[in-house]
Symmetry: none
Subunit: 295 residues, 2 copies
DNA sequence: TGTTTGATATGCATATATGCATGGATTGGC
DNA sequence: GCCAATCCATGCATATATGCATATCAAACA
């Protein structure tokens, strides 16, 4: 076969791809962990090598030329293939040493993961861990994470998912706050209580009312989208918040609100890519997470 | 997006692809026009980078491992895309044939441009060149030229201008002439020297005096508006002339006058129409001029 | 068994690419 | 209209990769 046609610098194609997708050399350099001048020179070199003007240098940022646009599709294909190489080789690597990236919600990342990570580091000191704490489901297929802890059944059919168990969500507040609002014992007693809201859409109210309460918007004077902030507010005695029962029960400064209330149940799913089946490292961490989260 | 998964050395993937397809490092090196040790090191580095053993080193030739085989499909996909990039860009770079008109002063046209044009013709035989040698700024907007070399910042805001660098203007004469006037070493020694003037307005005298000389009209017995004529007069030992230091220094028959004299600095600007951004042909010539004039 | 052939590794001088620091230019906000 | 922020380009010291010459190795063959 004649390989001359692929005999250009492939790294420069990578530079072009990331630059085009990110929109600027600086952003691309940050994404790739390289220096901006390096990427600039690589793109310029690719233009010379291919004899095509890829970008218009336009003061702020770069502008893709029509020629560059025409090439972008093919470069994207290269990137997809490169991604597949990376994922496949990651799965085939039998080395236990290496990095594992775990995605979880901020609450789980802050309160559930630390002791598990500590144990993992003790058992397998060769494994380093990266934690992506986000409320948004990380894209495992793009390797934003290797393992994800989610509270819903994953929709991606190509992913491996394991349901760990159902956990209760309960209401918590400080004893001082509960005393202040008259130590509520029935749902009606909570009609004048303050709740810390964690969404704007009203789904939170509906969820609580489905537990048997009858709350209105006036019960939610405080809003934050951040669960950790909500929890700190609850611990400070500002109002009532809802949280995973296992985490709430472990916090000594708060207590359950109306223990008789039936808790809201939700599932914990552990999700991984197909490489789980071939990579020892992923398997070890997955199994450990599964075991610890079942407790 | 997360680009970490494509952030490995793509050239090493190319090395793996061609090696696997050709069956040996030596054959792959021949196909790619590289040295065999280079390819061997690239493949080895890829194995380390991915944490996968790709080849079994077996005395005669290499043997693909199952892991390597699993990756080969994805690497082939990369190669296919790379091939598409190469073909597409080749088709697009076909359109560079045509004429380019370059405007420059007669001196630059005579002494700076010829080697650059020669190189351009060598690199891009499809491009033909027209040179407008004039002291008057050609009107690019009227397409009197596509690219202009000027010694001042262009005033037209719609033109694209790139400052190449500042060049020194120095005094030159033949060694014989300098000896004849007493080998001048100070500014005062030049008070009886003959200069070849290249303007009538007196700006030339003022320019020289701003360098530290103290000349009067009697020092300018010869006038020509043509720099080339002036330079020939200097080379014939008629008197002292001023010229771009890079051109003057390259002329063996003359030498600098009073080397201690601080040279008069003036800029070189490369100017083009907005078309530069869309025309590969203009871009190629512009970049070449920029590169060569920077030397 | 010795020899030839075609392959992969290694040492070293050199070429090439990279990062850092900085300059220059443009945009957006106050 | 000025200032700050952001982005691209350039110069230079350094790190990295490459090529050449050569050593080493294994298999085929006389």
């Amino acid at each position: 076969m004649d390989w001359r046609s692929v005999n250009f610098d492939w790294n420069r194609a990578r530079a072009f791809l990331v630059t085009a997708e990110e929109g600027s050399l600086s952003a691309a350099a940050r994404a790739l962990g390289m220096a901006q001048p390096t990427l600039g020179r690589q793109v310029k070199a690719l233009e010379q090598e291919l004899g095509v003007v890829l970008f218009e240098r336009a003061g702020k940022g770069l502008l893709l030329t029509p020629d560059g646009l025409a090439l972008l599709d093919h470069v994207r294909a290269m990137g997809e293939a490169a991604n597949a190489i990376s994922l496949t080789s990651f799965g085939q690597s039998q080395a236990i040493e290496g990095n594992i990236c775990i995605a979880a919600s901020p609450v789980y990342a802050a309160y559930l993961l630390p002791p598990i990570i500590a144990r993992l580091r003790h058992i397998e000191p060769g494994i380093t861990v990266e934690i992506v704490a986000s409320n948004f489901a990380s894209d495992l297929n793009r390797r934003e994470a290797d393992i994800a802890i989610r509270n819903f059944r994953p929709v991606e059919p190509e992913l491996i998912a394991k349901k760990i168990r159902d956990v209760p969500a309960r209401l918590y507040a400080t004893p001082e706050y509960l005393e202040k609002i008259g130590s509520p014992r029935t749902a009606a007693d909570l009609n004048s209580a303050s709740f810390i809201s964690i969404d704007r859409t009203g789904a939170f109210i509906n969820g609580l009312n489905s537990m048997g309460l009858s709350l209105t918007e006036k019960n939610f004077p405080i809003f934050t989208e951040n669960y950790l902030v909500m929890w700190e507010l609850v611990k400070q005695g500002v109002g009532i918040g809802i949280l995973d029962g296992n985490i709430g029960d472990a916090e000594p400064s708060v207590c359950r609100v109306m223990d008789t209330l039936e808790p809201l149940m939700f599932p914990i799913w552990l999700v991984a890519r197909h490489e789980l089946k071939t990579s020892r490292r992923v398997r070890i961490v997955f199994d450990l997470l599964s075991e610890e989260l079942s407790k």
